[in-house]
Assembly symmetry: C2
């Protein structure tokens, strides 16, 4: 039987691709296994680049306008640069459109791209346009960083504190409401839906954290918290033990009302959540907190880095690297 890509799933496919693709020995972030790639431009000065694709049939949430889609496609790209501590220079978008796509919707989409870029002090510099069977937004972003300030996924050390830049759980609730028709009171619904319609990338926080020198590892949690924790632990060759997760009040209320396990919801059912997950040198925790506060952000400790491998809850149970995954056939 011939294997297809859905027999394998996105994360294993990426490993498969890297078994075939020739690696650049001068790439600074582990050639495709980090959130972004980096190349030295001049002594101590690096270019950081990333690409992130949005596809209509998996990415378009009920009720989401084209303007919001455009803005969110920018945010997804900004977030990965933020996680590396790189300042964006600009974005490019390859846009695929079906012939029948309304011109008015294209205008909204482009307004969203412009709005997103403007929010982060950058621009969409150019792109490509072609015909496709569904709307495709393939963004790429590039920016610059100081080499010694670049934050990889792979630098977490035993003893480091693990932290996130915001309250968790809202996107998981948003997906439950939008995709599984869960009910919620107006204010809870508004907050949860807003978190998936208008996410915020932590660019200021990422730059501040890179600048303070306290961070040993960093990535965003857009692939889901449980997956991201496992990826950081694996890339760094360490284990992570969680303590208490900082969860948004609305998510807590929603989980109680629907008798859902709040921690499970937050770990496994989120995604497209653009908080940064960082490991911080224990002796520099207060510097990290101060740096983030200075730019109007927050830093919440969620656990500690230990020797070993894997991710564990406070009670010792294992946090599996599971969550929503592209190209992964559900085995029933």
């Amino acid at each position: 039987m011939e294997l297809s890509v859905s027999d394998v799933g996105e994360r294993r496919l990426i490993e498969y691709i890297w078994e075939t693709l020739e690696k650049d020995p001068n790439e600074l972030l582990g050639a495709g296994l980090d959130d972004a790639v980096a190349k030295e431009l001049a002594e101590g000065f690096v270019l950081v680049a990333h690409t992130d694709m949005w596809v209509e049939h998996t990415g378009l949430l009920p009720g989401m306008s084209w303007r919001l889609v455009g803005r969110k496609a920018v945010v997804a790209n900004i977030s990965d640069l933020a996680a590396k501590g790189a300042k964006p220079l600009g974005l490019l978008f390859s846009v695929g459109l079906p012939p029948e796509f309304p011109l008015e919707s294209l205008r909204e989409l482009v307004e969203g791209l412009s709005e997103g870029a403007s929010e982060y002090g950058t621009h969409v510099l150019g792109g490509d346009l072609g015909e496709s069977r569904e709307v495709i937004l393939a963004g790429s972003i590039f920016g610059v960083a100081h080499r010694e300030r670049l934050m990889p996924r792979s630098g977490a050390q035993p003893g480091d504190l693990v932290a996130v830049t915001g309250l968790l759980g809202l996107t998981a609730v948003g997906f439950k409401i939008l995709l599984e028709e869960y009910e919620a009171p107006g204010s809870v619904k508004a907050k949860a839906v807003e978190s998936v319609y208008r996410p915020v990338a932590r660019l200021k926080e990422g730059l501040a954290l890179a600048g303070c020198g306290a961070v040993t590892a960093s990535m965003d949690i857009s692939d889901g918290l449980a997956v991201s924790l496992n990826q950081m632990a694996e890339a760094s060759g360490v284990s992570i033990t969680l303590e208490k997760l900082p969860i948004a009040e609305e998510a807590r209320f929603f989980a109680e009302r629907h008798r859902l396990d709040l921690e499970e919801l937050t770990l496994y059912e989120g995604g497209e959540e653009y908080e940064l997950l960082v490991a911080v040198r224990p002796g520099m925790w207060s510097e990290a907190v101060k740096a983030v506060k200075n730019v109007g952000g927050s830093l919440y400790k969620i656990g500690v880095v230990c020797e070993g491998s894997g991710v564990y809850k406070a009670d010792g149970s294992k946090v599996e690297a599971k969550g929503w995954e592209h190209l992964r056939r559900t085995v029933g």
Copy 2:
């Protein structure tokens, strides 16, 4: 009646998009209206970036393997950097795959990406992977150039000589054979099909031309010769008068055999032809020829830049900006 994007067509849509998108005042190449974008990194040192998308249902030619598709997607991106005189630092690919896409085909595709990058001394550094209804390859490339050596589309001056880096006409013949079932003898067919299956980007030539300082304007002709000539003339605010086009022997033979107008075929029915189109200062023509010869290439004069607007054949007839265009409904 609501207008759709196919009522407008790719080239007009790009103008429409730029009416909405906020332009970066610090972009050096005309913000999206050139082949690539450029930003200054340090005094005199610029980053050049470009994105180029390949979509299965419009891009997959009969008989083309996934390995050739991957390689060609790289070539398309390299070519635009070559046209600006920028040295590639690396590529990123956002890849969309249908769930049923064979794993073996993915391996071939990735081998093609690797092969293409390796041919031009660069690497695919990373990417993104997602599920889509057809295969999508959205490449982006970035590289570096000296600011004063950057070759825009828009610098052609009256008196400049217009030239291309290779013999023309083969891709037009290749499309006739592959898409319209025209017949041709084995050797003609082989050469024409090779030109669309395994195109070559003129990176060495582009870098040599940028280095010699003789070029005032440059672009590739991947959108078709007639379209590209008109774009250069318009961007530069000049007219171009053609003399004799350098046409491959096989294209000449094919046109005679099928009683096709050879010049029309070359001007209007090509595309995905990765020769560079350049305007050269008349007093530096021999330097330009020498620079290209030194890297093993050729430079063929095809016309001259004049005052005015538009593109004309030697007999004074107008060369229209027509050719194959994405998202353009055929009006019958």
